[in-house]
């Protein structure tokens, strides 16, 4: 809305441009990112946290959080929760392993089938929530147990163990596997190493090669998902439908928003994100384990809340959620770099969560004018 070609409307309160630029859902997360980096530059600046290896370490961990936080954020804005994300990660990884290693099918078939399976489970989650009117908290809590149970049961039944390895071997030469588990930009790191700007291996068969040899596809997926979700949410009609469905579902129905469809699609998107997470992990590490993804659903929700989204739906930002995930990842790995006793990690997490929520509440009140 430009104010140049319309007459000034005396009913609209004037706000300064600076204030408009500053007061956004992401503000709390932006402040948090700055604070967290300042903190670790002071306390862990010389610990290797900001060399190439350290940088890659915390950005990979953050990217993992971003992938699931983006899904959780969209769903939360649409007014629902998904507590089954963590179990979905374990389940999807195990599905890929069982189809490719045990059944011996090509890895691309395993990946595609697993995506179909995950999307179907996401849709089922959504359908049950929409049809029964039960809180998504309960429905997805049920799937948290159901999926985790199957993830332990099937490999135990078929292979008599709970970690299935050997995926790297079957993924050799596959066309789809590198999309999730590959690395790109290796030439750039070779060049950096040749300029003596990053460390190289000092012994073994890879002596002289750079320690960091590319950007994992995990990070590319995180950036891609974030950008797509942000554009959909803020630039499209469908994005408005998501906000409307979460803000006031009944009012949205009255104005013709297909609320049920939006919610089911968002459950499917969350499942998709969980599946991307699992596929990247399985392709990188070459094995699937029954304990993968434990408690990841809460980590996703925490990142989203740090990012300024409202637990009750209808309000939030994908960029905020991604920044929340960045804070989460940097703090988690940074505490190790700073040499903090690792059992204190949860204390920090709780403190950060609490302060982020308090800060975000004040920012939201300024934006929406509620008291």
């Amino acid at each position: 809305m430009s104010s140049t070609d319309t007459a000034v409307d005396e009913r609209i309160k004037e706000t300064s441009k600076l204030r408009k630029a500053l007061i956004r859902p992401e503000l709390g997360a932006i402040v948090g990112v700055i604070a967290v980096f300042a903190f670790f530059i002071v306390f862990a600046g010389d610990s290797g946290m900001f060399n190439a290896q350290g940088f890659l370490n915390w950005s990979t961990v953050s990217a993992q959080f971003v992938i699931i936080a983006v899904g959780a954020c969209m769903l939360m804005i649409a007014g629902e929760f998904d507590l089954s994300v963590g179990s979905m990660i374990g389940f999807a990884g195990m599905s890929i392993a069982l189809i490719s290693v045990t059944l011996g099918w090509p890895i691309w078939v395993a990946i595609l089938l697993t995506f179909v399976l995950c999307l179907a489970i996401g849709a089922l989650n959504g359908l049950i929530v929409v049809r029964t009117g039960l809180p998504s908290f309960i429905v997805t809590l049920a799937f948290l147990f159901i999926l985790r149970g199957f993830t332990i049961f099937f490999p135990q039944l078929i292979e008599r163990r709970t970690i299935i390895g050997g995926i790297s071997d079957v993924a050799e030469g596959d066309w789809l596997a590198p999309v999730f588990g590959g690395k790109i930009g290796g030439w750039f790191f070779d060049w950096l190493a040749s300029m003596d700007m990053i460390d190289v291996f000092t012994r073994g068969t890879r002596e002289g090669q750079p320690i960091v040899n590319g950007i994992p596809m995990l990070i590319i997926w995180a950036l891609g998902l974030m950008i797509v979700a942000h554009v959909v949410l803020t630039r499209t009609q469908f994005g408005n439908w998501i906000f409307a469905s979460g803000g006031d579902a009944q009012a949205a129905r009255y104005v013709g928003v297909p609320v049920n469809r939006v919610k089911i699609l968002m459950f499917m998107f969350t499942a998709f994100c969980g599946c991307v997470f699992a596929t990247c992990q399985v392709m990188e590490f070459g094995s699937a384990g029954a304990d993968r993804g434990l408690l990841k659903e809460f980590e996703a929700i925490i990142a989203v809340v740090i990012g300024g989204a409202l637990l009750t739906g209808g309000y939030g930002s994908v960029i905020g959620a991604a920044l929340g995930a960045l804070i989460f990842g940097v703090v988690q790995q940074g505490l190790f770099f700073a040499g903090v006793e690792s059992s204190l990690f949860r204390v920090f997490l709780g403190v950060i969560l609490l302060f982020a929520v308090i800060l975000n509440t004040y920012i939201r009140r300024i934006i929406t004018g509620e008291h």
Binding site: F43, F201, T202, R203
Partner: protein, 315 residues
């Protein structure tokens, strides 16, 4: 304004916590130990104590790290992180070679000496380029226990598995079954980690399979609730009961005759010895020529006093 408050408080809390942790840091070499254990697993306390004691005695700085939920993929990130922070040595478990061998090999190749402890095997440790392996081979320990039980007339058993997601746990049960010379079949249950759930599942299994000869638990987490379950069912002291690992309640039960034996893999040594070995290697270039087996050792009612005194702390 709020942000200023936020920043100040966060850094104040962080600073307080850090000074606490930094107190242990001494001059000299720095070593990082990484385990696969979730925060809730109390067994690793002995490891932490052994590590701290070795650090103190050798005047080196030691740190202990673990993935909070026990997720091995998170553990891989912690190994990468540890390598990036450039310590002199890394002491780590090898719970799943597929996941962990990449990060460990990267650490080895970037000039950090690695010792594998606890999980894994001597062969895997050698393949990965580690200096040595310190631990108790899980399958062999289970097999030895099975043979011992077979000698005592056991022919069927219940394996209470509280960490079924780890392959090492299944190997223990499988080894025991093979040592007995029976099929594992349905004799292993996934008990979960919650004490009252474990207790109920053990009672349910023994009620529906009344002719079970023996119970095998895989650590204090499953042993303590199992002791309670047997007490309630009136089977304590009647049914043959063996367990992996030691803890306060287990030692008490061995004394009372409820548990016949506990397999001590002596975790203290798994944490203590690698620090000693690494420090001497880095200071004087000397290295023992073989892997070190910290267990299995069977703890029975004889000579229990020293174990009882130090259980949960150093034993």
């Amino acid at each position: 304004m709020k942000s200023v408050i936020k920043k100040t408080v966060v850094s104040a809390v962080a600073a307080t916590a850090m000074f606490g942790a930094n107190a242990a840091i001494a001059e000299g070499e720095s070593y990082v130990m990484i385990s696969h254990a979730p925060d809730s697993d109390s067994w690793w306390n002995t490891i932490k104590n052994g590590l701290a004691l070795a650090g103190e005695q050798m005047d080196v700085s030691v740190e202990y790290r673990n993935p909070p939920t026990g997720d091995l993929a998170d553990m891989a990130r912690i190994i990468e992180q540890a390598a990036a922070s450039g310590p002199d040595g890394i002491i780590t478990t090898l719970a799943d070679p597929d996941v962990l061998s990449g990060p460990i090999r990267n650490a080895v190749d970037s000039g950090i000496d690695v010792i594998i402890i606890n999980s894994g095997s001597p062969d895997q440790a050698r393949d990965i380029g580690a200096l040595m392996y310190v631990g108790q081979p899980e399958y062999d320990a289970g097999f030895a226990a099975g043979q011992r039980a077979a000698g005592d007339g056991v022919s069927s058993f219940l394996c209470v598995n509280h960490y079924i997601a780890q392959p090492a746990s299944t190997e223990r049960c499988q080894g025991f079954a093979d040592g007995l010379g029976v099929e594992l079949g349905n004799q292993m249950i996934d008990s979960g980690q919650d004490p009252s759930e474990i207790q109920n599942r053990v009672m349910a299994y023994l009620n529906s399979n009344p002719d079970t000869d023996a119970v095998l638990t895989l650590g204090p987490t499953s042993a303590d609730p199992t002791i309670m379950a047997l007490d309630q069912m009136g089977l304590a002291g009647d049914i043959y009961f063996g367990t992996f690992d030691l803890g306060g309640d287990i030692v008490e039960a061995i004394r009372d005759g409820v548990i016949q034996w506990g397999i001590d893999q002596q975790p203290f040594l798994q944490a203590y010895l690698p620090v000693i070995v690494l420090t001497n290697y880095h200071r004087f270039g000397v290295l023992p020529g073989n892997n070190i087996n910290s267990g299995p050792g069977f703890v029975t009612a004889d000579a229990l006093d020293l174990v009882a005194e130090l259980a949960g702390e150093y034993r």
